[in-house]
């Protein structure tokens, strides 16, 4: 469904993403992990049209979408959320979600109905009339998810929707994401919460210094010495291995 090939993006000489390739197949949940500053968010932004990549291609359902404007990519069926939540502060949750719903309909009533359905889906049914600015961190994360979902995507790019949540809230949102996948939406997510990655993702890509250094099931990734070193430093894998022996 999504094919990213040799994607690169540099900011004033610094290579944030350096020849990264990845695939997401329809119906999957794929996680993208990596240490801070690995280039995960930049890679997302380059895929979703927020940054024009310096090199490489992005294909979505076979069509080349490299460098297209975000609104065209959204119309094609791919939408991203933001790690730093971006609620429309001075309008209600309902109106926030309706903005997303308007991507598929020009009719106000249809958009309003869709907003309510989506709100129920992500567990925000009781907050529909709250202002975007009045939400808690957990509420804002859900709103990010709800708005994106309202645009009717086939592929959702979720950027750290669990950061800053407590364990109960994480369990809740993991269930919500599972349900979204079951409803037929493919998901690529950036996540630091490993508990969520292992319970959600079939496959994991590890990004370090802009490069994909490993790919596999969550269990295989956790055992990969290269990954351990990327997180804990050179020689860490050997030291840990020594500890076990």
């Amino acid at each position: 469904m999504l094919e990213v090939r040799h994607l690169s993006k540099a900011f004033s000489g610094l290579k944030a993403v350096d020849g990264a390739s990845l695939d997401v197949r329809a119906g999957e949940i794929v996680a993208l992990i990596g240490p801070n500053g690995a280039g995960k968010t930049t890679l997302f932004a380059a895929i979703a049209g927020f940054h024009r990549p310096d090199a490489g291609t992005v294909r979505f359902d076979g069509a080349d979408i490299t460098g297209l404007a975000p609104h065209r990519i959204c119309a094609a069926g791919m939408v991203r959320t933001f790690q730093i939540t971006q609620p429309f502060a001075k309008i209600s949750v309902r109106e926030n979600i309706m903005v997303g719903a308007y991507a598929r309909t020009a009719d106000r009533t249809t958009a309003a109905v869709r907003a309510e359905v989506i709100a129920r889906q992500v567990g925000m049914a009781r907050q529909l009339d709250q202002l975007g600015a009045d939400l808690t961190v957990a509420g804002r994360k859900r709103l990010e998810l709800a708005r994106a979902l309202a645009t009717g995507p086939r592929l959702l790019l979720l950027d750290e929707v669990m950061a800053g949540l407590n364990p109960t809230e994480i369990t809740e949102i993991v269930d919500v994401i599972q349900a979204i996948r079951t409803s037929g939406v493919t998901i690529l997510l950036i996540e630091h919460v490993m508990q969520a990655v292992t319970s959600l993702a079939e496959r994991v890509y590890v990004l370090n210094q802009g490069r994909v250094i490993a790919e596999g099931t969550p269990a295989a990734i956790a055992a990969d010495p290269g990954v351990v070193e990327a997180y804990l430093g050179h020689g860490a894998a050997a030291r840990l291995g020594g500890g076990h022996a």
């Binding site: 959204c74 609620p87 903005v99 020009a106």
Partner: protein, 335 residues
């Protein structure tokens, strides 16, 4: 709009329609203020609300903070005057063309500014610059007759869009004001309006959610430009004269912005409330200055009061006078 809001609006409209007749009846019954003066003040409120709404559509709803909205007003004013004086057009025909010119200027400024990615204070500065450039051009190119200005021949007749009885120009201003309110109302209940608010609140999120931010911004600036120009054309037709300062003076930009900010930017009735407040201040201070000898040399007194009022509003009531009503309603909704 709620049923109560609708009843409120209908009542207000009825009162506005009856207003000239009521003040004339009061005049006949011995009111010490001249009825035509009061009708003229009513006209000013409607007209100011209309050009304020032109700013509000772009600045209030879409967050395009313009400091040079007079560029549209002046384009309409000159369009209206030149088409009549130089080309002998009928004003009824010239009016929509003047509005279209304003839309064109809005589209042009939008296309240039937004393609270059100018936002916030940079956009404000670029609009200010455009207004100044237009004013200097109007001062120097031959077809505006420079600083001399253009004088439209006074021939009061409905066919010439000139009226002997001020009541008609009042009704015309009222019609403009109502059209502007309807446009603002539509923005609160359509996809276009929802997208503008989304762009105002967070441009990146708007882009991610499938909004073509550039196109929507250009569209709203063209709409706002058409309204501003229609207001300028009206102004010329009322006073039958235009010069570069009247058309493109920075004080008009301030007025358009102030009316919305004082009343409540991004609300339907904000510009109307603001226009009422500002016109009242204007008239009261002018009367005071002519009556109280000590104030005679404090000119113009209204600007001092404007300034104080703006400070108060920004500090105490950032959402404008309209929020006084809104707050009450929201609290009632919660209870």
């Amino acid at each position: 709009m709620s049923r109560r809001g609708l009843a409120f609006a209908a009542g207000g409209l009825l009162l506005a329609i009856l207003y000239p007749l009521l003040v004339r009846a009061a005049g006949a019954a011995g009111l010490p203020i001249a009825p035509n003066y009061l009708i003229n003040v009513g006209m000013l409120v409607c007209f100011t609300a209309f050009i304020g709404q032109s700013w509000n559509i772009a600045g209030g709803f879409a967050g395009l903070m313009s400091f040079g909205h007079v560029v549209f007003f002046g384009t309409g004013a000159y369009g209206m005057a030149i088409l009549q004086v130089t080309y002998g057009w009928n004003p009824w025909l010239a009016w929509p063309v003047a509005a279209a010119l304003g839309a064109g200027v809005g589209w042009l400024i939008g296309a240039l500014a937004f393609r270059a990615g100018l936002r916030g204070s940079y956009f404000a500065l670029i609009t200010l610059a455009f207004a100044e450039v237009f004013r200097i051009l109007a001062n120097s190119v031959p077809f505006t007759r420079g600083g001399l200005g253009l004088l439209i021949k006074a021939e009061p007749h409905p066919a010439n869009l000139q009226f002997r009885d001020p009541i008609w120009i009042y009704y015309l201003a009222l019609l403009l004001c109502v059209i502007a309110l309807l446009i603002a109302w539509q923005l609160t209940r359509t996809r276009f309006g929802a997208r503008l608010v989304a762009i105002r609140e967070n441009e990146d999120a708007a882009r991610a959610l499938g909004i073509d931010v550039y196109a929507e911004k250009v569209k709203v600036l063209a709409l706002s430009g058409a309204m501003g120009a229609a207001g300028g054309a009206f102004y010329v037709q009322k006073y039958l004269y235009v010069d570069p300062w009247i058309a493109f003076g920075v004080d008009k930009s301030v007025e358009m912005l102030l009316v919305s900010m004082v009343g409540g930017a991004g609300t339907i009735f904000g510009p109307l409330i603001g226009a009422g407040a500002l016109t009242a201040i204007n008239e009261i201070t002018r009367t005071l200055a002519s009556v109280v000898p000590a104030l005679k040399n404090v000119q113009p007194l209204s600007l001092i009061v404007y300034g104080a009022m703006l400070v108060l509003i920004v500090a105490r009531l950032p959402d404008g006078l309209a929020s006084l009503f809104g707050r009450k309603r929201r609290e009632a909704g919660r209870a």
